[in-house]
Amino acid sequence: DAGITQSPRHKVTETGTPVTLRCHQTENHRYMYWYRQDPGHGLRLIHYSYGVKDTDKGEVSDGYSVSRSKTEDFLLTLESATSSQTSVYFCAISGQGEGNQPQHFGDGTRLSIL
């Protein structure tokens, strides 16, 4: 499948600490996304990027920030992690073309905040 690497794959940390998750792609795709997956909620969009330095909020963006300084990397930061941010985080990418393009997902990061 698409060349998407998420790191770390698993992380356990304490409330109040900063956390950064990385998504790296080798497909040179324009769009990148961060989702969280929680039981009963499916996947919910946190933030997305439509180009280098171009980002926007999704439906559950409070408590999260993102940065994209290079096409291939999209970082998700929890400035001060809370237990409600315990979740599985997925990165996705999609290309630019006529109309929408399909999304491809990374393997996810399981984050536990104690």
Binding site: G42, Y48, G99, N100, Q101, F105, D107, G108
Partner: protein, 109 residues
């Protein structure tokens, strides 16, 4: 925002049986994608289907955009089909995507 509902929420099948999963959405969409999340948590693309019918082996999908629904058909189910099936709709600009809450499928031998 747009609402996406999937049915049934849970489904148990005997190996070899056929099934139909449904995705309803509340507003016009630009496109629709079906995913399978396997027991290891990976999200696998199945179909990218704004309208019409597509087939891939034992799986096929039909989207009727004018009536705001899509169907995923699984024929001759196998235990490896187990997992959660999600539909996701694309609406608005910048590829805004909304996921349904999924159908959890268990195929028993």
């Amino acid at each position: 925002g747009i609402q996406v509902e999937q049915s049934p929420p849970d489904l148990i099948l005997q190996e070899g049986a056929n099934s139909t999963l449904r995705c309803n959405f509340s507003d016009s969409v630009n496109n629709l994608q079906w995913f399978h999340q396997n027991p290891w948590g990976q999200l696998i693309n199945l179909f990218y289907i704004p309208s019409g019918t597509k087939q891939n082996g034992r799986l096929s999908a039909t989207t009727v955009a004018t009536e705001r629904y899509s169907l995923l058909y699984i024929s001759s189910s196998q235990t490896t089909d187990s997992g959660v099936y999600f539909c996701a709709v694309f609406s608005g600009g910048y590829q805004k995507v909304t996921f349904g809450t999924g159908t959890k499928l268990q195929v028993i031998p």
